[in-house]
């Protein structure tokens, strides 16, 4: 038995080493930037990391994000959003910051997957005075509102607000060391991703589901938007809805600017299983945004 167990261990070591070589040689997994907490407890990427995703190079800038971080004053724009702005799957030239820059804007871009509406406002609040933008663009979705509210769905790794106590709760970086192991030991990461895909799962955070009716949810989101409007200066902000805006009336009532992109269909999405925008989707989104901010400039 001892001989048998030793043989299995020997084989396993050889296979694991060879498999790691295969995974790295054929780039079977994407590199994922690791996160840290900034001085305000918001999650940003560890600075100056580099990697490849879907064959495209990415690099974390000195602010802890993947896009441009220019602060020049003239035609200054601040863009904030989730994985659509993080945009790790597309080449750098397809980023919103790159597309706006091409049209003469100076752009500071904050994109991180999983960002909630309230977290994006926290980033906005932090960078507004430093960047001094003429306009701040939030690329959002209706679900970002819901994910911001603890009373709807408590998410431990996201920044949320309790509308009962008006207290913010910061997101924790979960399983930091396991993530580090997974990202560095590519074989494990590869198997983990394949397993998730086979189970048709998505990486979800530990959540305590609270059953809320659609009506109750809208009341809570309504309150969130009103509270946000009171606590943050949203005058020079443009809310770009990836889909439609379910709270149009309220936005109009509060005089908040918004546009709806409604980019649906295969030609705009990255792939069959990935509904993020492709380069074409980003191009269309950018043209719509440019049209709007061009009108303001006039």
């Amino acid at each position: 038995m001892k001989r048998f167990v030793i043989k299995i261990i020997k084989y396993s070591i050889v296979v694991l080493i060879l498999f790691e070589i295969v995974v790295r040689l054929f780039t079977l997994t994407n590199d994922v930037p690791q996160r840290d907490l900034d001085e305000n407890g918001l999650q940003v990427f560890q600075k100056n990391q580099e990697g490849k995703s879907n064959g495209h190079k990415w690099k974390v800038n000195s602010s802890g994000f993947l896009g441009h971080d220019e602060v020049k004053g003239e035609n200054q724009v601040l863009i904030i959003g989730d994985s659509f702005v993080e945009n790790i799957m597309n080449p750098f030239e397809c980023r919103q910051s790159s597309l706006l820059k091409k049209n003469g804007y100076d752009v500071f871009e904050i994109g991180r997957s999983g960002i909630t509406f309230i977290e994006s406002l926290e980033f906005y609040s932090k960078y507004k005075s430093e960047v001094n933008p003429k306009i701040s663009i939030f690329i959002i979705d209706n679900s970002d509102f819901e994910e911001s509210i603890q009373e709807i769905n408590k998410l431990n790794d996201r920044v949320q607000i309790s509308l009962k106590t008006s207290q913010l709760s910061l997101g924790k970086i979960k399983a930091k060391y396991i993530k580090k192991l997974l990202y560095n030991y590519k074989t494990l990461y590869y198997l983990y991703l394949k397993y998730l895909k086979s189970q048709k799962s998505i990486i979800t955070t530990q959540s305590i589901k609270v059953n809320h009716s659609i009506k109750e949810t809208s009341i809570l989101v309504d309150k969130l938007i009103r509270v946000s409007n009171q606590n943050y200066d949203l005058n020079d902000c443009l809310f770009v809805f990836r889909g439609g805006n379910d709270y149009k009336e309220l936005f109009n009532q509060l005089n908040l600017s918004f546009i709806e992109l409604n980019l649906k269909g295969a030609e705009y999405t990255y792939s069959e299983n990935d509904s993020h925008w492709s380069c074409k989707g980003h191009q269309i989104a950018s043209e719509t945004i440019l049209e709007y901010i061009g009108l303001i400039r006039q």
């Binding site: 048998f4 084989y11 050889v14 060879l18 198997l191 394949k194 086979s198 048709k200």
Partner: protein
Amino acid sequence: MLFNSIEFLLFLPIVFVLYWFVFNKKLKYQNLLILISSYVFYGWWDYRFLSLILLSTIVDFFIGLSIPNQDLEKQKLLLWCSVLFNLSVLGFFKYYNFFVDSWIDLFSSFGYVIKSVWTLNIILPVGISFYTFQTMSYTIDIYKGKLKPTKDFISFASFVSFFPQLVAGPIERASNLLPQILKKRVFKYEQGVQGLRLILWGMFKKVVIADSIAPLVNDIFGNYQELGGGTLWLGAIYFAFQIYCDFSGYSDIAIGTSKLFGFELMSNFKFPYFSRNIGEFWRRWHISLSTWFRDYLYIPLGGSQKGKWMSIRNIFIIFLVSGFWHGANWNFVFWGLFHSMLFLPTFIFNTNRKYTASIIAENTLLPKPKEIIQIGTTFIVVTIGWVFFRSDTLEDSFIFLYKMIFEFDINLSKASGLLYIIPLTTLDYMIRTNERNIIFTKNKLANNSLFILFIISIVLLFFKETSADFIYFQF
């Protein structure tokens, strides 16, 4: 639980460690562990159907115990009780709807319209065709005096539900497996290594070959009406290899897993596509089922002892029943009929027992030209038979075959499946003399490298986004 699932990859080492390191003190404990593990393995799919296995186990255990103490008439009665019970369970779950629908169709053809109120929504319990045959063989062997009944219920229940072969065989005989369960097992290094090799080879055939060819097969059989005959030939050949790799892969994993626990199961496949005639093919394909039918149906019907015509009738019956065993579908029945038509001429001209002991090119590197032609011809007719097996309806099968014969277009973009088939056939050829100890070459380094290559390719293709069930689970 599927062999090609992450659950099994965790389950197997846990049971292995418990079996050899924790429960190894007493045989009773080891058998109890096998029983519990087997029920967990089966219950992972649907725990409700464990009651069916348990019921089948209880009925045959007590009937088996009672048979030797009775006079001949009562023995016969008890045997019939066992056979009828097992066939009723099988008949209800597998064939009930088929018979109801067939009756309705028959009446409809005479102009009587009957509403299908008797059709039930029945789930087919996985492995039912395998374990009912296994338990039936136990009582039949006791009745024939070939086997003494066991008084150890746990051991008998372990025999019925032995997890490596529970859901898709090999269909074990009590006379082979039960004595092994009743005897203390000792771990043997060589047996363990052989087991691991068989598991890897089986996984390779299933995960790398069968599952990679499956989309091509589905595509060609799903769109056969728009495709040319050449492409349909490719589809039929792909299916021949898909079903071979899928089913023999399962059997290899089952035999290999059993070896890890100190058991030797019977061989189920012996390189059937290297057969030189259809008789040899049936001695090499799904051996546990064909020998079951031979021993428990063909011989009781009189075998070849009652004259040529009775033998022909008996052969015809076992092929028909064999087709029907695969499923409640006229396609399977026709597939059985087709094979009986292929086999009967060899029986009539006494060539069916040719090549009983040898394998092609046993002591040479390559087969003789005559053998290559024989192998090619046998493979072609077997492949034609697979068209009935794989098509949705009989009508589809005939149109498919018509196009295969009379249309010659080939879409070369569908030829990519050959990239799997050619290496598989080469590897199969390299091990053709021993299906139980997989050694591709005497060069140890080259052999080990091949297995490492298998592991890497299995891991790369292991997780599927689409279902990768074993084909024979549905039988």
